[in-house]
């Protein structure tokens, strides 16, 4: 399924009643089975864009289209949250089954489908644990399994690994790439981390500071499967440098404010 963002702007009113332009005239097409990273400094409206695609917010102007056949029993989008957003009163397995419950899937079938994604995300043995009994990395595995369990055509990921320590993040990135290569969902991945964006995505969409505009779209021509030693290769470093030069001025401006 393709995601077409067509002239989308979002203005919201902040607590003091002033309008804040979060996004301005965004045009973007995410192809089927493509891994697109949305990269931008904090407060550039990249999470807003994800929420708009998920239908959790309404755009002020423009339209977002989901283009393609949706097989029955599947949902268009599912979200993985930065702060995990797991229900503390549900075990790992019950958290994973949440979306399936809302789809009306019977209990036995729910358990069967949850099992598949528990295995895919390496959560065996943790099914009956509550979120507070899990490490950050395990929690986000539950978040990813929960999103995959509803078989979404498009997987929306909002800085999913930014709350994890650097080592865990590296391992989780590799695992996600592995899962993506096996499941081939369309992924829209929001991050503020250039290395992460370049390491994972087919294409990096660079947003400007608020109001967020598309500054550049950079195709990442690095071979797959992407593995850790890629991080030191000249092609990788050059791509990171190129994107950094694009947003350096913006970041410096933010620092001066």
């Amino acid at each position: 399924m393709r995601v077409l963002v067509d002239g989308v702007s979002k203005t919201y009113v902040d607590r003091t009643g002033r309008p804040v332009r979060a996004l301005e005239a965004i045009d973007l097409a995410v192809e089927s089975a493509e891994f697109v990273a949305i990269l931008g400094p904090s407060g550039c409206g990249k999470s807003t864009l994800l929420n708009l695609i998920a239908g959790l917010l309404a755009p002020t102007a423009g339209t977002i289209w989901l283009d393609g056949e949706l097989p029955p029993g599947h949902v268009a989008t599912a979200m993985v949250f930065q702060e995990f957003a797991l229900f503390p009163w549900r075990t790992a397995q019950a958290n994973i089954e949440l979306g399936l419950e809302e789809l009306g899937v019977p209990a036995a079938e729910r358990a069967r489908r949850a099992r598949r994604f528990i295995e895919l995300t390496g959560l065996q043995g943790f099914e009956t644990k509550y979120p507070h009994q899990l490490s950050g990395g395990m929690r986000q595995r539950v978040g990813i399994a929960r999103a995959l369990a509803v078989e979404p055509a498009v997987l929306l990921m909002d800085e999913p690994f930014s709350a994890l320590d650097a080592q865990t993040r590296q391992l989780m990135q590799e695992e996600l790439l592995g899962i993506w290569e096996r499941t081939r969902r369309t992924i829209v991945y929001v991050t503020h981390n250039i290395h992460e964006a370049v390491y994972m995505a087919d294409r990096v969409v660079v947003l400007s500071r608020r109001p967020g505009r598309v500054l550049a779209e950079v195709k990442i021509e690095l071979p797959r499967p992407r593995v850790e030693h890629l991080l030191g290769e000249p092609a990788f470093v050059a791509t990171v440098e190129r994107i950094w030069s694009l947003i350096r001025e913006q970041a410096a401006q933010a620092l001066r404010e």
């Binding site: 998920a54 789809l103 509550y130 929960r146």
Partner: protein, 263 residues
Amino acid sequence: MTRAPVRDRAAFLTRREHRTLRVVALLLLLAGWELVARLGWVPVLFLPSPLGVLSEGWAMLQSGELAGHVASSLSRLLLGFGVGAALGIAVGVAVGFFAVAEAVGTPIIAATFPIPKIALLPLLILWLGLGEPSKVAVIALGVFFPMAINTFTGVRGADPLLVRAAVAFGAGRWSIIRKVVLPSALPMIFAGLRLGAGTALLLLVAAEMIAVESGIGFLVLHAGNLMQTTKLMVGIVVLSLLGVLSHWSLGRLERLAIPWRAG
């Protein structure tokens, strides 16, 4: 600089449990009280001895008198508490979740909440008669308000991120109430139940002082009128035990209902 080991300067902050002291303090108080009564410093009519209260209580238990009072009190208490708690939770969720219910409910609750519920007892007797319904109703009213207000606060405290996550996975209004709002409000609901239990006991005793034939409130008032101070004290001890029991059982229930709490 000479060499000196670093001392644990925070040592005085550790709080010891002093388990024996807890028991000893209580026993000393009882022993002192017994002594005061035995030595006849205060007449038994005003202050019966602890052992006297204990033996009187035992006698009343054997004769079945105490069981009768406790049974009628408990049935009023449980019915009133149950009705009040259920209504309070329902209203608290509605007012906390639905804008219309909040607009209707908030001013009404704000206006009626400060009324001391015991002042409503004569009115309730006028409406519902001298029988059981007016007693149960005043207890229910007393429990209703802390329950409604605590539930409301708990519902409002539900994490917006979790609500958004539930919506992202297709949850509608009722799913959100059942799967997000109610579980988030549970700790506050239990705090409300504890508050309500105290209020319920207070109102029970007050209600049982009017036109009843049995109940612990009746026992206390009746024994007082007859200057049977030992019997009166038995009633007070039973009330205290009821309070301790309700607190303890709510604690057990809370641990069962909220198994995800850390620890």
